[in-house]
Amino acid sequence: MTGARAFSSPLDLQSVRADFPILSRELAGGFPLVYLDSANSSQKPLQVVKALEEHYLQHNANVARAMHQLGAEATAAYEGGRDTVAAFIGAANRDEIVFTKNASEALNLAAHTLGAGLKPGDEVVISEMEHHSNIVPWQLACERTGATLKWFGVTDEGRLDLSDVEQLITERTKVVSLTWVSNALGTINPITEIAAKAHAVGAVMVVDASQAVPQFPVDVSTLGADLLVFTGHKVVGPTGIGVLWGRYDLLASLPPFLGGGEMIEVVRMTGSTYAPPPARFEAGTPPIAQAVGLGAALDYLSGIGMDKIAAHEQAITAYALEGLQTVPGLTILGPTEPVDRGGAISFELDGVHPHDVSTVLDTRGIAVRAGHHCARPVHERFGMQSSTRASFYLYTTPEEVDALVDGLGFVRSFFKVD
């Protein structure tokens, strides 16, 4: 047993949790849900679900191309979502926000359109701690164009290895694409510092902010990124919507990604001209209700305060790091101190495979992720095949962390690990 340890958060957790009905669920065996998988997908507050419901029940129609009153309402609602996203991340201009179906599509858009300018001899730099969605699109772009893929290594502490940065980012580098917060290690990378090095050689800086935007205030006007992506469902918003933010002049210089309705200017059978951003990158009927829901989600987070959410995340992560390190045979993958570290903790438990850890925890109502978390290379880097990951959000309580630590003790006794 862990006993009561000191914990202090600026959030009123009871009132936050009241907005998320799912957190009151009881699972099989009468165990209350302990949801520690928010880095995978966050839960949704009533405010978001109600916004979706109101949109579908009162304002539903297609956007832009529908000329009637509901079409105008749906368009206003969809574009309102864009305004909210732009304000939330400090974009200079609402036209810098492109809606995609998820962060993976946004990264594929980036790799495809930036890839159009790559040629043999050019280099793209990523890192060993990337999610597969920030590895594979660049591998494909390099295969298509003959460009070379290079990557930052990871130190034993789970930090980005900057020792060979001068050899990595050179005049041949055209794109640097890095995760801001690692989904497997939790590491927060020094984006602004790397962006300066990328810009010094004329390269474009792409940032995967899928785990960053949910956790702390983001201001793209000072970050140094040229393109940045995140996804709706990790920021208490709906699935089916992702965001690509780009500096407007860069977006305006990029070719289309997917072709179709609404991304064109004039279509002739002999060739077409394309709409300016963001429409150029939004072919077909977009995720309309999802944009409304995403707007409601970001309003919800702003109402609570991203500063407070970041402070809570920091506090609960520190509390969990401390608790997990009391479990015998447990090894944390990534930084063990809550410094420059996000709220996802992957770990290995001696003698018990992560699937078995997660199944046993699941029978006690505790939801964690087991596997390689779409980040196989970083597991390989640490000689691990897979790991168990617990991740936290604005509704996570210290009691839930205690339940995890106790649950891991039970796992060890169940598998007779000493």
């Binding site: 992560p354 699937h355 078995d356 087991a370 095949q385 897979s386």
Partner: protein, 152 residues
């Protein structure tokens, strides 16, 4: 959800000391199967003697369910005609997909009946089938090879 029904003692025994583990010579075909969603991997070798499974050896990384299932599978097919092994697979698959409503046949499945509880954990069914899919693939390739059909 009953943990003990999932992790029966037989399963844990096979997990701790899997049968036919460690890749051996000679063999006809070697395959490598992975479970991309979780990262479990198995390398498996099959040796046929005509229509009979002369040998199966394997080396794997994965959870208790996948390792134990591969161990039990090896016991079930070695020394049997390929057709009987395939029929056993069908029985095992039926059990896995039965959501707990299929009564396992101990005559056919032997230690495999211990996996009946896995059927109630949908996320774990693919773990129990990984070794089987590797064996079926390797065996099909070995048969094709012995019939002189190119597999390239």
């Amino acid at each position: 959800m009953q943990l003990d029904s999932l992790y029966q003692e037989i399963i844990l025994d096979h997990y701790r000391s899997p049968h036919h583990a460690g890749l051996a010579e000679p063999y006809d075909v070697e395959v490598h199967h992975v479970n991309p969603s979780c990262g479990d991997e198995v390398t498996l070798r099959v040796e046929l003697d005509g229509e009979t499974v002369a040998g199966v050896t394997h080396q794997s990384v994965g959870c208790s369910i996948s390792q134990a299932a591969t161990s039990v599978m090896s016991d079930l097919v070695i020394g049997k005609p390929v057709s009987e092994g395939m029929a056993t697979y069908e029985k095992f698959l039926e059990l896995m997909q039965g959501r707990g409503n299929v009564e396992p046949d101990e005559e056919v499945l032997e230690d495999g009946v211990a996996f009946a509880g896995v059927a109630q954990f949908p996320a774990r069914v693919k773990c129990a089938l990984l070794g089987w899919s590797a064996w079926r693939d390797a065996t099909a390739q070995a048969l094709a090879k012995s019939e002189g059909v190119s597999n390239a």
